[in-house]
Amino acid sequence: MATEKKKTSQVVKYNKWGYIFLIPFVVVYLIFQMIPLISTIYNSFFENYMSGLKQIGPTWVGLQNYITIFQNGDVPKYFGNTMVMWIAGFIPQIVLSLLLAAWFADTRLRVKASGFFKTVIYMPNLIMASAFAMLFFTLFSETGPINSLLIQMGMIDTPYKFLSHVVSARSLVAFMNCLMWFGNTTILLMAGMMGIDNALFEAAQVDGATSTQVFFRITLPLLRPILLFVMITSLIGGLQMFDVPQILTNGEGTPMRQSMTMIMYLNKHLFSKNYGMAGAMSVFLFIITGILSLIVFKFSTSESND
């Protein structure tokens, strides 16, 4: 009895260290996440902005800010833009990554200098998104090198305004996102593939399966949890797409705001320091990302239970 009591107090004593070690995270979380989050939600119920140097508000307006951003069609439109550009970038990205990951992970193929290639494909991700966007902005401007190249090759007569056409502007954004992130995705998928038991591949080989069959019947099904993880994290990143289209289109989302993403719209409220509208927009984004994160969480925990 006495010894048992001593044991529990010992456990409690050790548990204490666990809590102490958690302090840094909790403190940082509270200061940099929780407080801003709550104040954003609180601010979204007020009319509060600057007109010149004059502060207007804060006046309590209830849900008016939310009603405004949905009613004037802003949120649906920019949500649509964001999704279109994300999907257009994500599909080629995942195809490319799967292919590369399969090659790199395949023990029979023995790709030479794979370390080198892995580094190279990861490179674009190391460049600042804004620098990358600036580069493309210059490349594809009306008087830029791509246009003069095309003209000299005789393919077009007058410079093509890449950023003034919906398809080309959105494609450029999608292409850049794809280029920046496919290396990262490849590394993730490769890790997933290496985790698959080699015995399965060998068994398939013994049974005479072709590499296509191996890929679709063994690799893909077993890669599902990683694939889902990659997809959801990319979706969350995609929803917050900002720097590339912002710099590429000078913050205007040309043409006709058809390449304007939700965060770019949020950024538009910076001019008048419109805490209310920007808050409402942020809360909406927070809810969507929250739901998506829940899906990831649920899926990954149920997987481990299997």
Binding site: F21, Y49, M50, G52, S141, E142, G144, T254, P255, F271
Partner: protein, 473 residues
Amino acid sequence: MKKKLLSSLLSVAMVSALLVGCGSTAAPAAEAPAAEAPAAEAPAAEAPAADAAATDAAAPAADEGKVLNIYCWNEEFKSRLTDHYPGYEEVDATHGKIGDVDVVWTITPSDDNAYQNKLDEVLPGNADAAADDRVDLFLVEADYALKYVDEDVTLPVADLGITDADVANQYQYTKDIVTDSTGKLKGVSWQGCPGVLIYNREAAKEVLGSDDPDKVQEAVKDWDTFLATAKKMKDAGYKMTATANDTYRVFSDNAGKVVENGAIKVDDTIKKWVDMSKEMVDAGETGTGDLWGDDWSAGFYPEGKVFCYFGPAWLIDFCMAADDEASIAHAGGWGATTGPQGFSWGGTWICAANGTDNASLVGDIMKKLTCTTDIMLDIVKADNDFVNDKPAMEQMAADTSYGDAVLGGQNALAMFCAGAEKIDRSNMTIYDQGYTESFQQAMKEYFEGNATYEEALDLFYTSVTEKYPELTY
């Protein structure tokens, strides 16, 4: 026991690491009073010495702080101060010295509204900031001058010792822009910004047969002839203007208020600009690039093939790449003529920030640079700026020995003088800048065929109300 010691050591290390992390923000705040105390004492101790030096330097000052903070968005004013203010010594790119006072430049580019954001952040609490951190002098542009002038963040120039007599020679419009709603003058400018049509002499010779300003004026005397000339230019392989936005100021400057009673207005004059520009863009006579962009500045070089720009003196000498040997400006290949319509564009005003601890020095800078005829004439001769001194400019305009190298030695001052007299900027609002940017951006969509005029107008209204949520349309 050993384990316990180790774990407590570890946790102490971790918690202290955490606190150190916080320290980067918390510690200076805690130490600040201690660090500031000697700093606060220092000026007191050194004050007599500084005063003595100041009187030596002829800058009369018992109220002088040790640091003069200047906020601006480009190098223009800095070069004016360096070259023309007696006693200014340059230390490095962002520091200088006037007598014993350190001059600190805070240069924030205007892009993305960064400069105004900076001002908005510091000006309201300026009077309460530490003496050496206070903004003393800042510059504003015409488009948003009222935003600062009509608030008490700027000091009336009368408080700085500048009298009505001092500014009597300045053009009236330069005073109108920086006069607040109670009639107090709150800033001064050394330049006047009447605009002219700046044409490419090479193109004029080739297409119009002469580069004589009077002959060229014949070909651009009103908008109809301007359009006819644009066709000729197009046939000869030249763009009439680099972008549609080049002509915007000529129209907007002659239009009414952009906002009346809280409602956004698109004046008929501006609608005329839209119609004309659409026609020109469709005919390939002009482009749709943004002002200040690469497509716009390409015309500063011969291979850019642009016939004309519209702008005031600061554009000619400060923006047209005259330093670059390949540019037309370097070769003196531009000419100036009145153009279809008089207008003004931009301009820089010097304002004193409320809370300045260098009031008399700021007042002196204003007086020297904007009210002293000799210094202003030097600015004209050295930098070809058009200065804000009516009698002096009229005298220079008649001076045949003066000529602007960028304009191939042409003396365009008479044109500027005539233009400056006619400028009326009483229509300014605090919304002009946001309005102009949004309007040009939205109309670009119309010009490029991505939207009808009505759709573009809707985009414009959306964009303006995002910037100024209190406006209606």
